[in-house]
């Protein structure tokens, strides 16, 4: 909303552009994780970093079976310490993460994956 008023202000009066620019700078700072990646992010050049939208690997590659025997797949979602990497870091969707965690725990049981990191 704030951006919209800014752009309209910029369109109306070119003399006020410096003020509107500062206001526009404040917009993303107020909401750094706003769910509007296409909004001001595309226009603004001076952005420090760009957070890519994470997507579920299993949905994208259409991997349906998450099996405890597939160590190579499971190892991508296990940290060096042996912990299961949380969804918010990997971007895996909830149903897949649920199955993934089951598979990882089964794999741990049969000594395919470690419970804790390499001692």
């Amino acid at each position: 909303m704030a951006e919209e008023t800014n752009t309209s202000a910029a369109a109306n009066g070119p003399a006020e552009t410096p003020r509107s620019e500062t206001a526009r700078g404040e917009g993303p700072r107020g909401a750094p994780r706003g769910p509007r990646p296409t909004g001001p992010g595309g226009r603004e050049g001076g952005r420090k970093y760009f957070r890519r939208k994470k997507v579920c690997k299993f949905c994208i590659e259409k991997i349906e079976s998450i099996n405890y025997k597939d160590v190579r797949l499971l190892a991508q979602f296990v940290a060096e310490s042996g912990k299961i990497v949380p969804r918010r870091l990997t971007g895996v969707c909830t149903p897949h993460q649920r199955r993934l965690s089951t598979a990882i725990k089964q794999a741990r049981n049969i000594a395919l994956l470690p419970f804790a990191g390499r001692a």
Binding site: E64, S65, Y68, K69, Q106, R108, N109, I110, A111, L112, L113, P114, F115, A116, A119
Partner: protein, 133 residues
């Protein structure tokens, strides 16, 4: 009620090949006498364990796919537990998951058939896209 189970177990790495054959055949016999069927036996070979089990750092993995009932699995697990060279085992029921996978596959197949017009240009476009690359 027949269900499909995967029995994965690890035997100690220094177990002789004949002993392993004997163990597998006794398990096989147990399955058939209990009214089940062994669908497949897969020897996954020697692998490094992720952590030490009974002071072993590697072991031979064997995967048995068995169709049968719950009491059969209980008997097999009991046998594995008392068998000295078996250091670890895991039983996983797989038929429900398989059913789900089949269902998903079917849905996908149906969807592909229902929309042949957009599907064919896509499949035609993909090789063309990969050819220059």
């Amino acid at each position: 009620m027949n269900r499909t189970y995967e029995l994965m177990f690890i035997v100690r790495p220094d177990m002789a090949e004949e002993d392993l054959d004997k163990l597998i055949s006794t398990l096989d016999g147990q399955v058939t006498t209990s009214g089940g069927t062994v669908k497949s036996v897969e020897r996954m070979g020697k692998r490094r364990l992720a952590y030490t089990v009974r002071r072993f750092s590697d072991g031979m993995y064997i995967l048995l796919t068995v169709e049968g009932s719950g009491p059969l699995v209980r008997e097999l697990e009991r046998r594995l537990r008392v068998t000295e060279p078996v250091i670890k085992f895991l039983t996983v029921r797989v038929d429900e998951e398989q059913k789900r996978l089949d269902k998903v596959k079917q849905i996908r197949e149906a969807r592909r058939r229902a929309t042949p017009a957009p599907a064919t240009p896509e499949t035609g476009g993909e090789p063309a896209a990969t050819a220059p690359a």
